[in-house]
Amino acid sequence: MSETKFTKDHEWVRLEGGIATVGITDHAQNALGDVVFVDLPEPGRVVAAGEACAVVESVKAASDVYAPIAGKIVEVNGALADNPGAINAAPTTDGWFFRIEPADAAEVAALMDEAAYAAFVDTLA
């Protein structure tokens, strides 16, 4: 399995076979609380790095999810419509949001690694 990378907006990204899978981190799901709905992008949509392209709704509030890298949305996790709780239960596996075909795979490599992200989260406490 490839290395998981992280953004300051609390998304994780995993590049496998040239396609990047994106979700939100355990820290993010814990801060959001119980997720009740997700609004996912249309496959085929071309997104810029940092562009809001999904919305996650918890009991408490709505939050944007951003594209960590530029590229084209090639697949979304349709299972979340019936089971948004997967984002809380398994944020980095079953709770993935969408897959991006990167415009430039090097953008993924430039994101934070797990240790850097953990250090970043510590600064927020």
């Binding site: 609380g33 009991v59 709505a62 419509a81």
Partner: protein, 370 residues
């Protein structure tokens, strides 16, 4: 409202909240627990199934004493205070001279005095307003040294009655004094969740011991502001600052029932002219319940259109997901002609129209001990 740069105030239970793992957030100038480790959903459902303990000590408590206190308070509210019997409590509105809502509040008749509970975010306005209307001989005494703790849910009264059996004899909106965990407390059978339960006014120095005594009872768990908000919205109850404010009238807010019958013949409360005109001719807008189709919540400030309509006819004031309803719910204001149950609406969420309908409230039936 406290300036955002001012340090947050704490209730007497602040340390207990932290011990319980509460996630503290700023609310009305206080550091308050929005949730505990169980989470909003679990805390909400536990309240509907058993009993939840809420710290509402940030709310303002006061007593009004002296000959003619009830008549004096009627100078600030359209509620029938003079008709309130000893041992009974009532929900009412404090109104502005223009007929807006200054605050919503509870008033109880304790026999020798009136006991008031007002919102945390409004107490700095409410208490001076009431005081400015008092005649000689009637005195308003703020009670900043008292905590207020709510125990809500179908198991709440049975649980607290193991400590003071007389509480079980109170009916909905009944009030009495009891001694619990070494503290003299004032108990009202009321709350803001739609469930049976009590709100208890406790001397601040006894509040921690009292809360711990309740939390030790079978079935009682702590719940935070997040659950309190989803519970009150399912119950169709207004949050001041969201659903009612100084621009909304009692008629627009569908709170005409809080205006005493006698008061509607006397018309001697602040803003009576506006209320009278709106009762006669209809209000321009009305607060209604709204059920969005599907699962997506529509939050406060979402524009409301008539189904297929191009222009907004109102706005959501509170919206979210109801854990007991298992679906999205909202309340908001719509133009007077579009307030009938079943009216088709579009809610404009992030530029997309979500179909919705005007729906009766409460969304989850009240279970008060009438």
């Amino acid at each position: 409202m406290a300036d955002s740069n001012e340090p947050l105030l704490e209730t007497p239970l602040a340390a207990l909240h932290r011990d319980l793992g509460g996630r503290m957030v700023p609310f009305a100038g206080y550091a308050m627990p929005v949730q505990y480790p169980a989470g909003i959903m679990a805390e909400h459902l536990h309240c509907r199934a058993a009993a939840a303990l809420f710290d509402v000590s940030h709310m303002g408590q006061a007593e009004l004493v002296g000959e003619g206190a009830a008549a004096a308070l009627e100078r600030a509210t359209p509620a029938d205070v003079q008709g309130l019997k000893p041992g009974r409590q009532r929900y009412g509105l404090l109104t502005t001279d223009d007929g807006g809502i200054l605050d919503d509040f509870m008033v109880a008749n304790l026999g020798d005095r009136l006991f008031l509970v007002v919102n945390a975010s409004r107490k700095h306005l409410d208490l001076p307003r009431i005081e400015s209307l008092l005649p000689a001989g009637v005195t308003l005494r703020p009670l900043p040294d008292r905590a207020l703790i709510a125990l809500q849910g179908p198991g709440a009264v049975a649980a607290i009655a193991t400590l003071a059996p007389g509480i079980a004899d109170l009916s909905f909106m009944g009030v009495g004094s009891f001694e619990i965990a070494g503290a003299k407390v004032l108990v009202s059978r009321s709350g803001y969740t739609g469930e049976d339960g009590v709100e208890v006014s406790v001397p601040a120095e006894r509040a921690v011991a009292f809360a711990k005594a309740l939390l030790a009872l079978p079935g009682v768990r702590p719940a935070g502001l997040g659950a309190r908000d989803s519970l009150r919205l399912e119950a169709g109850l207004c949050l001041y600052g969201n659903d009612i404010d100084e621009t909304t009238s009692a008629v627009e807010a569908a709170l005409t029932w809080t205006i005493g019958k006698r008061r509607r013949t006397e018309w001697n409360f602040p803003g009576a002219e506006r209320v009278r005109e709106e009762l006669a001719n209809g209000a321009k807008r009305l607060r209604v319940g709204i059920r969005p189709e599907g699962r997506q919540p529509a939050r406060g400030h979402t524009p409301i259109h008539e189904a297929g309509g191009a222009a907004p006819i109102g706005e959501i004031t509170s919206g979210g997901f109801g854990p007991s309803l298992n679906g999205p719910m909202a309340m908001g204001y719509v133009a007077g002609g579009l307030a009938a149950d079943g009216t088709a609406l579009d809610l404009m969420v992030r530029g997309k129209a979500i179909p919705a309908r005007v729906a009766p409230m409460p969304f989850v039936p009240h279970r008060y001990a009438r």
